[in-house]
């Protein structure tokens, strides 16, 4: 199909993803070594198996297969009758056996799908396959970039179980790709097989093309934000090439996270021959019957539906809250602690998340009582919404300070509770005589506004509300003030 003469910006974007996630088993895929290697010295979480020493033999970690079966089931895949490991042969210093034990023509699961909510429409993204493989070691180049003086290899990562999830080319924009990853991450977290907070736990390769042109593979993407950025960059590059009348050639490109660009790696024509063949030291696994015995926990879509039904959450709130396992757990815990379910959904989904994002904090850093106490102050109308936000910001800032000081080793101190913040800073809502006095004061000081109001100028009342808010330092409820001010003006008579 020729793209000549066609408006380049109207060409459809076609994206397929290949996602590698580390499964959070306690031991490695083929040996008993500890997977919790990030804090360890290089090459200490190793044995003859993951170092690939001659004579060592792999033994399958059943937990890793069970985790992968869960993923296959959760992604609505067909679990194969028998699944088999294969060797992928290639030479690389971080690959100690010169082959990776992976899966080739008999993966664990095939032909699934994951539903996305795209602007209110449910869209099915098809999953081609799910398979299990071992992570290679990690090369550490000493010196900068191309001028590295030498390379060190750390085999701590060697043998960490990975799942590879391949999608069909069903994604139509970088934003959809990011959404897909978000949903996938949530699903994996719900299955309790993946910890997205671990560095390097997710790696993405993307195939991206414009309708009618060759596809380009972008490798080396290692964050959720990176996926959208890399693909946006790449699709712009491809469009610009077409606009200039150039042809897009099939190639592999690397995403340079720091510069936000993709650079050409090698032409796809000289594709490596990995000489796949079945791993002779491992037997095929009967995974279908195994899968029948494995039950899945509640998954994001089901929990979203339950949140709407059980707590009366709106679709958007329920979607946001259930979009991360820890957030959904946080919400339910806060409600369990007595918070009003509807108030909690608004405050957590709309306000708390924004404040956390602003501070680069995550939900697990917030104690649930902080939130439930704040919500109780709000629903008892002890503080105004405006001051509720203020209290939340103070509480989060305190937590952040504490977390930072804990990191440098000082002893943990308890941060003030919302109640303590309110009383210490005098943020409680003003009422009774106090508010009346403030209203009178505002009216006394603004006779012009009174006349304007009487002349029918609605904004005058807003101005007066603002004046009282200022006098109360945010402790008055603007919603209540309208009526109170009108009444007070009426009372003054002409």
């Amino acid at each position: 199909m020729s793209t000549a003469g066609k408006d380049v910006s109207s060409l459809k974007t076609i994206i397929g993803l290949e996602i590698h996630c580390q499964l959070n088993t306690r031991s490695k895929l083929f040996c008993g070594c500890n997977t919790d290697f990030r804090e360890s010295e290089p090459n200490t979480c190793t044995c003859e198996v993951c170092l690939g020493l001659p004579g060592s033999m792999p033994m399958v970690n059943k937990k890793a297969i069970e985790f992968a079966i869960k993923v296959g089931k959760a992604l609505n895949c067909e679990i194969l009758e028998t699944s088999e490991f294969a060797r992928k042969n290639y030479f690389y210093p971080d690959l100690p056996k010169a082959y990776q034990i992976t899966q080739y023509d008999k993966p664990l699961a095939v032909q699934g799908y994951l539903n996305l909510d795209i602007e209110g429409q449910e869209k099915e993204i098809r999953i081609t396959r799910v398979h299990v493989e071992e992570d290679p070691g990690r090369s550490v180049h000493v010196g900068s970039g191309d001028r590295a003086r030498y390379t060190l290899v750390d085999y701590n990562r060697s043998g960490i179980p990975l799942i590879e999830i391949v999608t069909e080319p069903d994604l139509r924009s970088p934003k959809e790709a990011r959404q897909f990853l978000g949903k996938l991450r949530a699903t994996l977290e719900y299955l309790n097989v993946f910890d997205s907070e671990k560095e390097g736990s997710l790696r993405v390769d993307a195939n991206i093309s414009l309708e009618g042109s060759e596809r380009v593979e972008v490798k080396n993407i290692s964050s959720y934000k990176g996926v959208e950025k890399a693909l946006t960059y790449e699709i712009t590059r491809q469009r610009n090439m077409l606009r200039r009348g150039q042809k897009i050639t099939r190639e592999t490109r690397h995403y340079q996270e720091t510069r936000g660009v993709t650079t050409s790696a090698r032409s796809k024509e000289e594709e490596d021959d990995y000489r796949y063949f079945p791993e002779p030291d491992l037997y095929p696994m009967h995974v279908k019957s195994w899968a029948e015995d494995i039950e899945l926990p509640e998954l994001p879509d089901a929990r979203r539906a339950r949140f709407m039904k059980q707590y009366g959450c709106s679709f958007e709130h329920a979607k946001t809250l259930t979009g991360q396992l820890k957030l959904a757990d946080f919400y339910e815990k806060v409600v369990e602690q007595g918070a009003d379910a509807s108030l909690a959904s608004t405050w957590i989904a709309d306000i708390l998340l924004g404040e956390l994002n602003y501070r680069d904090m995550n939900i697990s850093q917030v104690p649930t009582p902080t939130m439930s106490e704040l919500l109780s102050l709000l629903s008892q109308q002890i503080i105004t919404d405006a001051n509720g936000v203020e209290v939340l910001r103070i509480a989060l800032d305190d937590l952040l300070t504490m977390i930072k000081s804990e990191k440098i080793g000082s002893s943990a101190t308890k941060t003030p509770t919302p109640k303590e913040i309110v009383s210490k800073r005098g943020l409680a809502k003003v009422a009774g005589d106090e508010i009346s006095e403030m209203i009178e004061l505002a009216l006394d000081e603004n006779p012009q506004a009174i006349s304007d109001y009487r002349a029918g100028k609605g904004q005058a009342l807003n101005f007066l509300v603002g004046q009282v808010m200022k006098l109360s330092k945010g402790r008055a409820d603007p919603g209540e003030l309208n009526a109170m001010l009108s009444a007070a003006i009426e009372k003054r008579g002409l």
Partner: protein, 431 residues
């Protein structure tokens, strides 16, 4: 408990390394000197596979069989010579030394476990471990006139055996008599959770010499073209002796045997090419000039330290697994392997054992077979048992030109007891 003083006069160059003082514990093999093929990992001794590329490599762990031997009280005296990475039929491809046949030092000892066979035949040790991928225990046993067992696939843990062709090979015992062979086998057989192909089948070690009523299948292919006439006649005489003890002889045919050699060489070289990839110079062997890019450095290193036979098999294996050739070679070889396994299993469901010669000829003089294909053809009678995963024993059964001939006894998978019993029974009545 004690310490063995081992003074070695290694006139056949059987050993690559050995110890002088060996502490040993109690157990069924307490204080018995045992030699081990140099492709079996030993914690405190170099394990080189007779290759330059592993020179100086001391494994940080013991093979499972080594732990079992130590627990049985055996005194592991040293590591024996072999064909480089077990790739050979004569032990001539060793990068280090030429092992001589104790029966005639102008002749090859067989291989690849030639060092272990020579150590036993030359009375340096009473028993030794070898490994058998396509006949590497049985061939040297036959050439040196001793007993050697290739166990059923899975009966002995391969953990720590430096892999040549994982799906074919087994570690096995070698000794002068079936009794000693069985004794060593009873120590090394059994389940190992670290080897996924390991089965739970320990060997109890009680031998029964009864031959009467045993059904012995004798395939015509074991006596066909290429089998030396003197060898044929010697083995037929041995089978007649067994028949005269009351065993029933069942002539039969295994047509798929004509595919055995090709299937074997495709499978073993494919697995080997993959297994040997790890010897890339980043970890094993003395470093060469490191100024080159890593890819060039890998090539130089492998060119420098692998011998010609190893390089040849890596090339063959790389080729047969290449995209576009997989179906024509590797896949086809697996199909042939299934046919062979099926035919063997069929015969062994009707007979207690298959008998024939171990090798088509007697040990030949050094350098007699320079052409690799001619050399590969001598494996024709031993490779089927590896392809089918069944146990096979070689027992001396006579001589041709003063050199020993081996009778091969092949049993059903898991029935190593039967082949040992038949070998034992034959040993009792052998003239």
């Amino acid at each position: 408990m004690g310490t063995l003083s081992f003074s070695l006069d290694d006139k056949y160059n059987a050993f690559l390394s050995h110890k002088k003082e060996i502490p040993f514990g109690d157990g069924p093999l307490s204080g018995i000197p045992v030699a081990i093929k140099d492709n079996i990992s030993t914690l405190d001794m170099q394990t080189t596979c007779a290759s330059q590329i592993l020179k100086g490599y001391i494994p940080p762990y013991n093979a499972h069989v080594v732990d079992l031997l130590l627990a049985s009280g055996a005194a592991i005296v040293g590591k024996t010579n072999m064909d480089e990475f077990a790739m050979g039929t004569t032990t001539e491809t060793s990068a280090y030394t030429k092992t001589l046949n104790p029966r005639d030092i102008t002749r090859v000892p067989g291989g690849s476990s030639g060092g272990s066979a020579a150590a036993v035949a030359g009375d340096l040790v009473p028993m030794a471990l070898g490994s058998d991928t396509g006949g590497s225990i049985r061939c040297p046993a036959s050439f040196c006139g001793i007993v050697g067992l290739k166990p059923s696939y899975g009966r002995v843990s391969r953990y720590g055996l430096i892999a040549y062709a994982n799906s074919l090979e087994q570690i096995g015992p070698m000794a002068k008599s079936v009794t000693e062979t069985a004794q060593l086998f009873s120590v090394i057989a059994g389940h190992d959770p670290r080897d996924a192909s390991s089965i739970t089948a320990p060997y109890e070690g009680a031998l029964d010499p009864e031959l009467k009523g045993k059904r012995i299948a004798v395939p015509e292919e074991f006596f066909g073209a290429g089998v030396h006439q003197g060898v044929s006649e010697t083995v037929k005489t041995a089978i007649d002796t067994i028949a005269s003890e009351g065993a029933e002889i069942i002539p039969c045919s295994i047509p798929s045997m004509r595919y055995a050699l090709s299937a074997y060489y495709v499978i073993c070289t494919s697995e080997a090419a993959s297994n040997l990839g790890r010897f890339d110079g980043a970890r094993y062997g003395k470093a060469l000039d490191g100024k080159k890019s890593w890819h060039d450095a890998y090539q130089d290193h492998r060119m420098q330290y692998f011998g010609p036979e190893v390089r040849r098999r890596i090339l063959l294996g790389t080729f047969s697994l290449a995209a576009g050739y997989y179906g024509r070679y590797y896949h086809k070889a697996q199909t042939a392997r299934q046919m062979i396994t099926k035919e063997y299993n069929h015969i062994l469901s009707k007979a207690d054992a298959i008998m024939g010669p171990t090798m088509p000829e007697i040990a030949f003089p050094f350098g007699a077979k320079n052409d690799p294909l001619t050399m590969y053809q001598t494996d024709i009678l031993t490779v089927p048992a590896n392809l089918a995963g069944v146990p096979a024993l070689s027992v001396p059964c006579g001589e041709v030109d003063g050199m020993p001939v081996g009778l091969q006894i092949i049993g059903a998978h898991g029935d190593d007891e039967m082949v040992l019993n038949l070998g034992y029974g034959y040993e009792m009545v052998r003239s």
